[in-house]
Symmetry: C2
Subunit: 372 residues, 2 copies
Amino acid sequence: MKVDYLIVGAGFTGATLAERLAAAGKRVLVVDRRDHIGGNAYDEMDPHGVLVHRYGPHIFHTNSKKVFDYLSRFTEWRPYYHRVRAVVEGKEVPLPFSLATLRALFSPRLADRLEEKLIARFGYGARVPILRLREEEDPDLRFLADYVYKNVFEGYTLKQWGLRPEELSPSVTARVPVLVSHDTRYFQDAYQAMPKEGYTALFRRMLAHPNIKLLLQADWKEVEGEVKFARLVFTGPIDEFFGYLHGPLPYRSLRFRMELHPGPWAQEVGTVNYPNEHPYTRVTEFKHLTGQDYLPHSTLCYEYPEAYEPGRNEPYYPVPREENEERYRLYLEEAKKLKGVYFAGRLGDYRYYNMDQAVARALKLFEEIVHE
Amino acid sequence: MKVDYLIVGAGFTGATLAERLAAAGKRVLVVDRRDHIGGNAYDEMDPHGVLVHRYGPHIFHTNSKKVFDYLSRFTEWRPYYHRVRAVVEGKEVPLPFSLATLRALFSPRLADRLEEKLIARFGYGARVPILRLREEEDPDLRFLADYVYKNVFEGYTLKQWGLRPEELSPSVTARVPVLVSHDTRYFQDAYQAMPKEGYTALFRRMLAHPNIKLLLQADWKEVEGEVKFARLVFTGPIDEFFGYLHGPLPYRSLRFRMELHPGPWAQEVGTVNYPNEHPYTRVTEFKHLTGQDYLPHSTLCYEYPEAYEPGRNEPYYPVPREENEERYRLYLEEAKKLKGVYFAGRLGDYRYYNMDQAVARALKLFEEIVHE
Ligand SMILES: Cc1cc2nc3c(=O)[nH]c(=O)nc-3n(C[C@H](O)[C@H](O)[C@H](O)COP(=O)(O)OP(=O)(O)OC[C@H]3O[C@@H](n4cnc5c(N)ncnc54)[C@H](O)[C@@H]3O)c2cc1C
Ligand SMILES: Cc1cc2nc3c(=O)[nH]c(=O)nc-3n(C[C@H](O)[C@H](O)[C@H](O)COP(=O)(O)OP(=O)(O)OC[C@H]3O[C@@H](n4cnc5c(N)ncnc54)[C@H](O)[C@@H]3O)c2cc1C
């Protein structure tokens, strides 16, 4: 086969590039080793008619009007604010840790005092990374920092990464803030919504272009040299592409356990986190996300973090440590030596992207390469 | 790309051959111009969580233990007896036209008499094609034959085919019998069941073999000459393959209209036929087929027969007329001139196959070609 662009990976990165390039008149072949499109955002109906996310719950949120408008061409949206609670000292309290969480955990007097101090120090609406809060002098704020660190942050981080918080780069730990407001939404982005008929339907529409062909159940290694292409976009793992030349880039993996709940609802909110108990980090009830409130039963997803073992499970999260970043840069050097080969996406860039960031990155790359 | 077998079409014929050949160690590429596997048996969840058949209701039934055992490797089953009713003179009566239908339409006296005569003449359990019944001497049986012909058969056939019954070959008309029994099941086959998680899930498991790759949204014409293969199995339209050399083979097409029914059930049985009223031939309520009785709403499928126009709609039913059969034989002669190219399936053989027949045909073809 001969195409203008061979794109490896049918997730948000690959699909966005395929759609843009096809619309620009290029002939595109998208290859994925899985038997479906959508990458990790793939959703499907389970045997009980619940729309589930096979690779863990995906909630769409973005501040980018550009990304939101772009995706709106391929889906209608269902408004949805994700809410998360954490079980702390036996109580279910709102996350991110906010002024509402203070009230749920502490005496009114202590909560009042902490609230005043937080607002005075950081301003209403601030997001204070927990490691930053720990540096405060004020004994009340130090107490709070230690409390959150011990009860919400430390256990979760250990479970999620198998590493202590200090062993991770601050880019991750900054993602766990104390929120100085009463907002109990998990995200504060300007656009928060779920694709009305799900992600897979969105991907189908993105890829439904006569210039796009889809080759599934096929690994890049199997088609390399067999398909002729002018350019290559690779959204798989960059270290795999180069035959692990500089050693493997570490990833964290997850095991998902889906469980049928016989009643209409199991949880009051989409996700409940367990920073301290259980081997799983969190439980998500998909119906909150999908709005299928007509179903008399429900499906829950338990997430068990585990080590990544190539071939046995999937590489989900690049492990954000300085040494890994350095190794990645060696691969980046290799990439620069190649002509007409582009790396992108969570695995290609070895970087944690939310879905909107993956799309933004792909749109930007498209602008760079389309006129080459 | 280089493969041992290129298989055009991912329906029951193509999937069965792909599975068998892959298991025999061949490298297989399955190509389909649609964006999904499963051919006309493809099912999917609609926006309301109802499992629907995009290309019309498909009920599995077979007398072949071999076919049933083979498919059982890829699915569990949900026992299901399809029941059909026809609206005749304003009443919903059981189909096929049986002894139960007599009772639903006629006075007990007339029904008794007809029942006795049918059993005496044909034996209990017989299936008498309606055109055969019309040849009877007995005035009661002639009355019955005319009644069924006028009220059940004629209008339906006209709508379905746009042709009078006499214009069709007897192979079709024989499929509309009078059933001399009280059995109100639509089929009398030994095996009647629906794949527990649907047809698409079954196809996924059939095709989930490392030797199989899937190329979707790609027409044979686009890959011809671009993919190297030792042998070709073509399950698309044979006339299209030969560039309509001997003129197009006629097909009948259908338009499906899906409609949400707000209540839990709309019909008492899976399908209701309308031989005389409405532009549609029948209405199917999928929940009867899929067993999703937990849903508070339901989805109905209305079938509107229409002329086949290549590019605008799909070729569903080969039109069973002698002249078409003759034209098909001209194509068969062309096919015989080719080496390593095999035609099969409803479109490749230009023959009405039920799903089980398509599988049986594919299993047989596999035996013929695997040792070549
Ligand atoms: C558990 C979890 C929860 C998440 N939750 C959210 C959320 O709530 N909100 C949010 O915005 N983001 C979330 N994300 C992030 C989101 O999944 C990513 O932003 C998105 O998947 C990135 O898309 P991508 O195309 O770069 O990568 P992917 O979706 O991983 O797609 C890459 C594709 O490439 C294929 N591939 C790889 N190597 C090869 C090869 N050699 N040959 C052929 N194919 C190959 C893979 O099979 C895969 O389909 C979550 C991620 C995870 C893991
Ligand atoms: C409305 C309807 C109802 C039916 N109900 C029943 C039922 O209740 N029970 C039953 O047993 N059977 C039923 N059938 C029959 C059943 O659909 C067939 O037996 C079955 O689909 C045959 O499988 P196949 O693989 O031969 O053909 P198909 O399922 O038609 O598959 C052929 C595939 O080839 C692809 N293709 C064709 N040409 C090309 C090309 N040039 N390039 C690439 N791809 C191509 C098509 O896109 C298609 O996916 C029904 C059929 C219809 C139309």
